[in-house]
């Protein structure tokens, strides 16, 4: 769960705060868990919601960041082999706040654009465009990483 928090937080301290708050909520609302789904999924949902609340406090602007033009074309599949989880986490951290939120919610948590729009109080189209841009941003960063790997 700390990893989930780390994906949304700016730094480890904030992630720990989110985790702490989430688990306190879990303890206090344990009686509300109805054994209808997985317990982990329920906790994960609480953690994500708490993280979103934290992010909303910061008043995130879903700005458009001009993506850098991909250098060197497509990503070679071998580049992915060298990418570890830690590297991916670092890359996600480099994403602008709005991109990061939408990317995490859609790609990793599996929320639809409609759900994300409702959760973040934005339009569906904004969510879609943020996702596309986040993806492009990440791909560019992976290409950048690919070069030293190739050498």
């Amino acid at each position: 769960m700390l990893t989930v928090c780390l994906r949304y937080a700016v730094d480890t301290m904030e992630a720990e705060d989110i985790l702490q708050e989430s688990f306190v909520k879990v303890y206090r609302n344990l009686s509300q868990f109805k054994f209808e789904g997985s317990f982990e999924g329920w906790i994960r949902r609480i953690v994500v919601n708490t993280a979103l609340k934290h992010c909303q406090k910061k008043k995130i602007r879903f700005d458009e960041v001009k993506p850098e033009t991909p250098q060197g074309g497509s990503i070679e599949p071998s580049a992915y082999n060298h990418l570890g989880e830690q590297d991916l986490m670092q890359l996600i951290h480099q994403l602008p706040e709005g991109y990061k939120l939408v990317f995490n919610l859609h790609v990793i948590e599996g929320y639809s654009h409609e759900e994300i729009a409702e959760m973040l109080n934005i339009k569906d189209s904004t969510s879609r465009s943020q996702l596309v841009k986040a993806r492009r941003f990440l791909q560019n960063e992976i290409i950048k990483l690919q070069k030293p790997v190739a050498v």
């Binding site: 994906r7 705060d17 306190v24 991916l88 790609v107 990440l138």
Partner: protein, 483 residues
């Protein structure tokens, strides 16, 4: 690679990725859950508005009920006095024609134009018929004077009027009567006003009993008129109140400069222990129901600061000295020095104390029945005389600093005077005996100034709520409370 593949690649990599939570995170979670104030005071604080409105509602309802009761009681008394007069007209028959009582009544009817006065006379007539003590049935004039003193003694003007009437009535007396009493008022044995008012009250209907206020064998006091009559209702009472009770504090920690992480760290590490306040105050009535209270109040806020330092290293030096006695007889001291390095988590707990000595100036409005249960609503400023603190506080680099009281450039020299606070409370008094009342007073106090220095970037301010339990002792003896 398509977008879908890219997404599924990221998802597969990160969905089940576990970076592992360090141990201190779990400790923080456990601590946060443990420190959750689930006590009575937390509940009180959480429902403060509900409680406050409930208290006001109960107080208002009780006040209204008691007021309506006293009105009802006086109505009963009035109607009863009317009944008495009617009965008197029909039942009291002159024992002999020379009885001055009836004569005086008829004379009075001629002399006075106010039927109210007649009723009063008839009421006295009933009194005299039943219990003639304190009255002498002499002339009509004297009887009239008696009536005026006993029933309407509060109103001096009416008394004078009646005295004049009495004089008029006296002028119509027989010669024999005139000889007996030259001045009609000279013959009157004026009863003690208080005594007489009590004897009058005895004639009234018996008070209804309050089932709510019947406490075992405690006898309900009689429905005494609450103010004596001769010189007007001037309440002059002085009370001494001694109280103490537990407090619950809510701290507000604000800063425009310090990061939120620092403030939340302090909120997590510093938590409150039961605080208390105690004091003595003098209470003087300003009017019939308004009072002023002032005295000295001491309050103490207790706080626990717990700092967890992970990866703390402790170096221990152990020196062992051995004595070796060799065969020739000389003694050799052998000194071994060892160092132990211990790695671990260090827990450090400090108890902080914030102490305040204040002088409250509270204005109070009382209502209810002072003989049974009465209430007061209080509000006013609280002037801080001095404040002093002890303990430690975390700075923005998460190191501890000793807090002290005073002035100077050190940011941990906090204010020795926090200025003015605002105090509000509702008191409930229960009569214990004639001089002692027990009271319970839930109160709230808001300090306008923080405890930290004016120039400090962090403002630490307290809102205190609590329950004061105490004793009120009436310093004024019973006979001197209305002068």
């Amino acid at each position: 690679m398509t977008d879908k593949l890219f997404d599924s690649f990221i998802k597969s990599k990160l969905e089940s990725y576990d970076s592992g939570a360090p141990m201190h995170v779990w400790e923080r979670i456990k601590k946060d859950d443990d420190d959750d104030p689930k006590g009575f005071f937390f509940w009180m604080w959480k429902n403060k508005y509900l409680l406050l409105s409930g208290m006001l509602l109960v107080a208002t309802a009780t006040g209204y009920w008691l007021k309506s009761y006293s009105k009802q009681d006086s109505t009963v008394a009035k109607s009863d006095s009317k009944n008495n007069s009617i009965i008197t007209n029909h039942q009291v028959k002159p024992a002999s024609p020379s009885n001055g009582l009836n004569t005086s009544t008829s004379e009075l009817n001629n002399n006075t134009s106010q039927p109210k006065t007649i009723n009063q006379v008839l009421l006295i007539e009933n009194n005299t018929n039943e219990k003639p003590s304190g009255f002498q049935q002499t002339t009509g004039g004297s009887l009239n004077a008696n009536a005026s003193v006993s029933t309407n003694g509060i109103f001096t003007a009416e008394r004078k009027q009646l005295k004049a009437n009495a004089l008029k009535a006296g002028s119509g007396k027989t010669k024999n009567q005139k000889e007996n009493s030259a001045d009609p008022l000279q013959d009157v044995q004026l009863p003690n006003a208080a005594e007489h008012s009590l004897s009058l009250a005895g004639n009234f209907a018996k008070p209804k009993r309050f089932p709510l206020f019947e406490f075992g064998n405690i006898a309900l006091p009689q429905n005494k008129p609450s103010c004596p009559t001769i010189n007007g209702p001037r309440r002059r009472e002085l009370f001494l109140e001694v109280y103490a009770g537990p407090d619950y504090n809510v701290r507000s920690l604000t800063s425009t400069v310090a990061p939120n992480a620092y403030l939340s760290e302090r909120e997590n590490n510093e938590n409150y222990r039961t605080s208390f306040s105690a004091g003595v105050r003098l209470v003087k009535n300003l009017g019939e129901k308004t009072l002023i209270k002032t005295g000295v109040n001491y309050s103490q806020i207790n706080e626990r600061l717990r700092i967890v330092t992970e990866n703390s290293k402790q170096l221990t030096q152990v020196i062992t000295i051995r004595t070796v006695v060799r065969s020739p007889g000389d003694t050799l001291f052998v000194r071994d020095t060892m160092f132990f390095e211990q790695n671990g988590t260090r827990y450090r707990t400090t108890y902080n104390r914030y102490r305040f000595i204040d002088v409250p100036l509270i204005f109070s409005y009382e209502f209810g029945n002072p003989e049974l249960l009465h209430f007061s609503v209080n509000a006013g400023p609280v002037f801080n005389i001095t404040s002093f603190y002890s303990g430690e506080v975390m700075d923005t680099s998460y190191k501890t600093n000793r807090i002290s009281t005073g002035s100077g450039s050190n940011p941990y020299n906090w204010r020795n005077n926090i200025g003015i606070g605002i105090f509000t409370s509702v008191s409930m008094y229960k009569r214990f005996n004639d001089r002692i009342h027990l009271f319970a007073e839930p109160y709230m106090r808001y300090n306008l100034n923080p405890v930290t220095q004016a120039g400090s970037s962090i403002k630490q301010r307290y809102f205190i709520t609590g329950m004061q339990l105490g004793i009120r002792y009436n310093l004024t003896p019973p006979g001197q409370r209305y002068r």
